[in-house]
């Protein structure tokens, strides 16, 4: 039996799970069940392979579905469980390489703002001190390699994007965060964008009042000589996110909000 409980406005936040109770979350392709016992938490999760990306929804319910019906199950032992579980969305732990469905060209001197979405993880923490249990990818993105050769480069996640230019066209998806990416081509020649590197571990995450998740604006500048690219990111929520609340800090910190990298490390 599964009963819907009065939903909060977003899937993240604090949940009270009674001892011996199961609570289930469905976030996009992920089904997550948490069971609270007197001295342990049991967390089970499973992802469905086939689901409509553009119609992803979420819901929270009490359930008596046994945990072992899901593919992955883990136990976390505590001295005492208070029954308080906190779910927090997290950005990817590696940079995300976003590939437009159709590569596009940006002539010299042009600037464009694209909306790129990146997959999210769920962080599970318990108690008032927020002891971290685990983090689970809502949708496991494919691995990819980003670098000039097979010997040099870094391991990233790959995702495809429509590179939408208009915010209104963007579907609201609970399992992805949106990054406004500004690309400025200061060189004379046309820039062909096949892949974009979104530095997810360096970005904080914000939640807008309408439930959408945002990261700060990322600016990629192709410099005049064409060999170097500048990568800047703000430390404030983007303009598009209204009344945004910061949900978490970046996974990695850099001393500056700007990186200058080889052209090939930002664009491909």
């Amino acid at each position: 039996m599964t009963s819907e409980i009065q939903p909060p406005t977003s899937w993240w936040g604090d949940y009270n799970v009674g001892i011996g109770q199961n609570r289930q979350w469905r976030i996009g392709p992920l089904t997550l069940i948490a069971r609270c016992l007197s001295a342990e938490w049991q967390i089970a999760h499973e992802r469905t392979g086939e689901f409509d990306e553009n119609r992803a929804t979420w819901n929270v319910s009490d359930t008596d579905v046994p945990l072992d019906t899901l593919a992955n199950i883990a136990r976390y032992i505590f001295h005492e469980t208070a029954g308080l579980l906190t779910l927090t969305p997290l950005l990817a732990d590696r940079p995300v390489i976003s590939r437009p469905h159709t590569p596009f060209n940006l002539p010299g001197g042009e600037t464009v703002t694209l909306y790129v979405s990146t997959p999210l993880w769920v962080d599970l923490a318990v108690g008032s001190s927020h002891k971290k249990m685990t983090e689970i990818a809502i949708q496991r993105p494919s691995d990819t390699w980003f670098g000039p050769s097979t010997q040099e480069g870094e391991l990233c996640y790959a995702t495809t994007t429509h590179c939408r230019l208009n915010l209104k066209d963007l579907p609201q998806r609970p399992h992805r965060a949106i990054t406004p990416v500004v690309i400025r081509n200061q060189a004379d020649t046309t820039l062909s964008v096949e892949r974009l590197n979104v530095p997810a571990p360096l970005l904080p995450l914000y939640a807008a009042s309408n439930g959408r998740l945002w990261t700060p604006k990322v600016t990629l500048i192709r410099e005049e000589d064409g060999d170097m690219a500048e990568l800047k990111f703000d430390d404030t929520p983007p303009q598009e996110a209204q009344q945004a609340i910061q949900l978490n800090q970046p996974r990695k910190t850099t001393s500056e909000g700007m990186l200058i990298r080889a052209f090939s490390a930002v664009f491909s």
Partner: protein, 285 residues
């Protein structure tokens, strides 16, 4: 009897005895100091350098200090170092001739250390042996194979033979060889293979999977599908991708054939006559 004790007493109180004592103290101090210094240096350098260099620093500093103290001890005992070194030179030529293999291993070891084709902790393949490098010593390299055996490979054979370092680069390629029946549409096969690779999150999207048509085999068209993965995921992907390809082929009705034999009697002869008989008839006979 008294004379004997007097001799011993004279010897113990002589200058010579003091030299021997000093030499023993020097050797003892040398050992202790070498041990302390080498451990301290390893600890200091521990986080900054890799295992291989840490081991080199430890051994280098240990032997250097020990040799210096041994030389001082010999000096204390009244040995003329110049003569000693000359004698050592002649001795080493003689020993060198007698122990060619060891000398060759020793020199190969020095080259290995300088060339650094692998370091401690790397996984290497030498001939048919694959294992993790435990230590690189002057005479040999010690490996631990994956079935937990200890293998000692002489440095000389490492210098002479082909050594593959499996853990040098962060990503690896898996070559999957698969045969499909002649009736199949190769375009469709290619699409299915790409789709399978695309769905598996461990398979890297870039570098793109490679599709090579190997040729028309005896009973199948042979294809090589090469996919890339993170080094650590090599085995996991190798296992899962074969299963997924088989499942996808079964779903789409693509046949993976086994060797076929068609018996042909030549164009001039008649085909083989085949007679079908029922079970009862066979039993009656």
């Amino acid at each position: 009897m008294n004379g004997f004790w007097a001799d011993i007493f004279n010897f113990l109180s002589s200058e010579k005895m003091w030299d021997i004592t000093r030499a023993i103290i020097l050797i003892f101090v040398g050992f202790t100091l070498a041990k302390l210094v080498s451990s301290a240096l390893t600890k200091l350098a521990g986080k900054k350098v890799d295992n291989h260099r840490a081991m080199l620093i430890k051994r280098g500093s240990y032997y250097l200090i020990l040799i210096l103290f041994l030389i001082s001890a010999l000096n204390e005992l009244g040995f003329n170092l110049g003569v000693l070194l000359g004698a050592a030179g002649i001795l080493s030529v003689a020993v060198g001739f007698a122990s060619q293999t060891s000398a060759s291993n020793l020199i190969s070891g020095l080259f290995l250390v300088a060339e650094r084709p692998f370091t401690v902790g790397d996984v290497i393949r030498v001939g048919t042996t694959t294992g993790e490098v435990l230590s690189i010593d002057l005479l040999s390299v010690k490996l631990r194979t994956f079935d937990n055996l200890f293998v000692r490979i002489p440095n000389e054979s490492l210098i002479k033979s082909e050594v593959t370092t499996l853990t040098r680069f962060p990503i690896r390629r898996i070559d999957i060889q698969v045969g499909v029946a002649y009736k199949e549409d190769l375009k469709k096969v290619r699409e299915i293979l790409n789709e399978v690779a695309d769905k598996n999150p461990l398979c890297l999207e870039e570098p793109k999977p490679l599709y090579i048509f190997l040729g028309f085999g005896e009973s199948s068209m042979n294809i090589q599908h090469s996919i890339w993965t993170k080094r650590e995921n090599f085995l996991e992907l190798k296992n899962s991708i074969h299963e997924e390809i088989k499942n996808a082929f079964d779903e789409q009705g693509i046949e993976i054939p086994f060797p076929h034999r068609t018996i042909y009697t030549g164009s001039v002869t008649e085909p083989f006559p085949i007679k079908q008989v029922s079970n009862k008839e066979t039993q009656a006979r």
